[in-house]
């Protein structure tokens, strides 16, 4: 049961409908930023209010919600958002990707493959990928309208000229369905390939900046690059110290004053599931 005194999932139904209308438009124009009248939420701007409003607008009583931050279900902000919905909507929550119907995430896409019918809601701080090259909103809107994206490549050019490679590591810009330039939110570029032709519906909400956008299922998403400097993702020389995975995104943990480090999966559900499948003696400590 959800807490009395507030509407189901906090927002009033009229506001939810307005957000869903915006989402329909966003799905119809993949990658296009749709303005929406973001409401003040009881969680601060910058802490996921865009994602929270999308989730609130989408949740039904039968939904099973998973919330991750940095790939983990038990980081403070993920806990806080999951509790918010447990309290205001009373929906079931889970940490398992396969069980979830709706996954709200900050900065990661789960390692486990997503399926048709699932929705991923991304929290977005700055939805405009051109913002760092062009400060004016009027101008960036025009650039999107006319598909004038040379400027984004100028910024990649500057990276290669300066560093010998494209130095963007997260929030790496993508083209959606060959039409709109889009910020994938600050996920590591490691996750960019997962956006491409995903069977799940991927939705993006920026509360403070009042924008939402979408990548419908099976939509082509390409990371920007040069023919002679193709897009690549991070690889680690060691496997996860806990589950032995060699194909997941790893976080570095400093374990003592001498700076000793270990690398472990950032996706805690993925790591836990792998460990559960393996006999205990095989696990690295």
């Amino acid at each position: 049961m959800h807490e009395a005194g507030y509407n189901f999932a906090y927002l009033d139904e009229q506001t939810k409908r307005a957000i869903r209308r915006g989402l329909l438009k966003a799905v119809a124009i993949p990658g296009h930023q749709v303005p929406f009248a973001s409401r003040e939420m009881p969680l601060p701007y910058g802490w996921g209010t865009g994602g929270i409003q999308l989730t609130a607008a989408l949740l039904g009583r039968e939904d099973v919600l998973k919330v991750i931050d940095q790939g983990a279900d038990d980081t403070t902000n993920a806990v806080s958002i999951r509790r918010f919905f447990a309290r205001t909507a009373g929906v079931a929550t889970t940490t398992r990707v396969v069980e979830a119907t709706l996954i709200q995430t900050r900065h990661r896409i789960p390692e486990a493959p997503l399926a048709e019918g699932q929705i991923v809601v991304f929290q977005v701080p700055i939805p405009e990928p051109l913002r760092w090259m062009e400060a004016s909103e009027r101008e960036t809107r025009r650039m999107h309208a006319l598909k004038e994206y040379g400027l984004m490549h100028v910024s990649l050019y500057e990276d290669v000229a300066r560093h010998g490679r494209i130095a963007k590591t997260y929030d790496y810009p993508v083209m959606v369905a060959g039409r709109y330039l889009m910020s994938p939110s600050p996920i590591p570029k490691f996750d960019n390939p997962k956006l491409d032709r995903s069977p799940a519906l991927q939705l993006f909400g920026a509360g403070r900046e009042r924008r939402l956008y979408a990548v419908p299922p099976y939509t082509e998403v390409n990371s920007l690059d040069f023919d002679d400097h193709p897009f690549t993702v991070e690889r680690w020389s060691q496997p996860c110290a806990l589950c032995g995975a060699t194909d997941s995104y790893l976080d570095e943990i400093i374990t003592d004053d001498a700076g000793t480090r270990m690398l472990v999966c950032s996706d805690t559900d993925h790591c836990g599931a792998r460990r559960a499948e393996r006999p205990a003696e095989e696990c690295t400590p």
Binding site: E148, Y157, E158, A161, F226
Partner: protein, 259 residues
């Protein structure tokens, strides 16, 4: 020259700021390979005219027709915004008086020059870089400055980077607004010499606005003399400067000769 060779045809071009008329009833034709100078004192309406021609200002009346690369003469203000902006970064170039208005100061010289290539879909870093180096060399800037920011360049060099940034798309028509304004005399002379060489070598058409008769004598084959927003005299440069007909042109020429 025959009518179908006209590159730019301007008729009755007028621009008003509120009640003030900045330029009125300007007519002229520009032919391929021709450089037209527009001279007059400050406030004569030259810059307004140039900005109207380059579609940065919407004229209050009149037409500007341009013969596109496909050979069709088209009214530029009837083009869609997308077509117009494409024209501005491919077939046209615009050199501002202040290089800061025409350059991205936080982007390297190479990135500045390469931008137009990337804007039309070039996605090979090596080729972009080779082209940028080539066009910087054309304006006498060495490859060692390719990755430097324009802010570290002198005023004359910044102006040359701006020119290279425009030339990289092989434009057919270049608009220049006081391209040598604000530069030292010796730097001006070098830039003019360079511009004259490039215009001849590339067969460019250009419209140059300046208050400096020396600039047009060197660059322009034909001249428009403007005063109070109107064209008071036009003709071949040598003819106008050596035998001015309009009293204002006479005054303008004699004031330069006196200096």
């Amino acid at each position: 020259m025959s009518d179908d060779e006209v590159l730019l045809r301007v008729r009755g071009l007028t621009h008003r700021y509120g009640a003030r008329t900045a330029c009125a009833q300007v007519d002229f034709d520009l032919h391929p390979g021709e450089v037209l100078g527009i001279v007059g004192e400050s406030g004569a309406g030259k810059s307004t005219l140039l900005h109207c021609l380059a579609t940065r200002l919407q004229p209050s009346a009149g037409t500007v027709e341009y013969r596109c690369a496909d050979g069709r003469l088209r009214e530029v203000f009837a083009l869609s915004e997308a077509e117009r902006r494409l024209l501005l970064r491919t077939e046209w170039g615009l050199v501002h008086q202040n290089p800061r208005d025409g350059l991205r100061m936080e982007v390297s010289a190479g990135g500045n020059v390469g931008e137009r290539l990337m804007a039309v879909g070039e996605r090979h870093y090596g080729r972009i870089r080779t082209q940028a180096a080539h066009w910087l060399a054309q304006v006498e800037i060495g490859a060692e400055r390719l990755d430097h920011l324009p802010a570290t360049f002198s005023g004359g060099m910044q102006q040359r980077v701006q020119i290279a940034r425009n030339l990289v798309s092989r434009p057919r028509l270049l608009f220049m607004d006081e391209p040598t304004g604000g530069l030292d005399v010796s730097v001006q002379a070098r830039l003019l010499d360079l511009l004259r060489g490039l215009v001849a070598q590339l067969g460019l058409s250009a419209i140059v606005v300046t208050h400096d008769l020396g600039v047009v004598r060197l660059l322009a084959q034909r001249l428009l003399v403007m005063r109070g927003g109107r064209v008071v005299e036009q003709g071949l440069t040598d003819q106008v400067l050596d035998d001015p007909q309009h009293p204002y042109t006479q005054l303008l020429v004699s004031s330069i000769l006196r200096v």
